[in-house]
Symmetry: C2
Subunit: 125 residues, 2 copies
DNA sequence: TTAAACTCCGTATATAGGTACAGAGTCAAC
DNA sequence: GTTGACTCTGTACCTATATACGGAGTTTAA
């Protein structure tokens, strides 16, 4: 049982972020006694840890919400994982192509003898 | 000599985008006769093509602005390219680590026999 | 008992890169 | 000479993920 400040500190996140996640429906509504202060327990801590880990894996908050609602169904969770995997691989190969292009460009810069022109700028123009 | 609509169509971009780039100082101010209509020539077309190509390579608009202002100095341009290259490589290896983690997770899902629990969810909780 | 620290709510701000819209003016074709 | 397409400016809105702030109420510690 802790207030929002303690909770946020424990998880090294911002108080505002906790309220933001609550507004987004990512965590269960905390108890609110007469004072109006939110009171959290371990359920909330665990939910927030889940969110933070999933986020670190590159899931968006909307995807995190889906993951949490799918908890039971392993097949559905796996399918989200596979979809994410496809996106990641696509991103990787996009970046590798890009790497090659910029690599070539900077190489031609290195080889350039003319101080008054730049092969990169020329190739963009 | 063309109005903004023709220009935008030629480059397959939005009219608003052209004005947006103008506000950001990315393109030279076009002529504006009495009518107030912007009039563009090939200089503008080339500048916009430059912007679009650089953007496609992953440069931000602020970086594009720098690139354009550096036009003369090949060494400076090369150095921006190399910096971008470092970022790209870092991103690639981040994504490759992520790929491995999610790959492992989905594999353990595939191997899972218990329909009432999911290894991915469990590893996040 | 009072001051500091904490929390509340609602709203504004931030980033990046645009997109959309209202209301007015202009141009071109028939 | 009128209609429809085009353009103008200025401002608001969009996504995603928060962060910051004002003004009021609450709790805690000395």
């Amino acid at each position: 049982m802790k207030t929002i400040g303690k909770l946020a500190k424990e998880l090294s996140i911002n108080v505002e972020t906790v309220r933001f996640y609550e507004r987004k429906g990512l965590i269960v509504q905390p108890l609110k006694p007469d004072s109006g202060y939110r009171i959290y327990d371990n359920t909330h801590v665990n939910q927030l840890k889940f969110i933070l880990k999933a986020k670190a894996l590159g899931f968006t908050l909307d995807e995190v919400a889906s993951l949490m609602s799918l908890s039971g169904s392993c097949a559905d969770v796996e399918s989200m994982g596979l979809q994410k995997l496809r996106l990641i691989r696509e991103k990787i190969s996009d970046l590798q192509r890009l790497e090659q292009v910029i690599q070539d460009m900077t190489n031609s810069c290195k080889a350039n003898q003319d101080p008054n022109s730049c092969p990169i700028i020329n190739s963009l123009s």
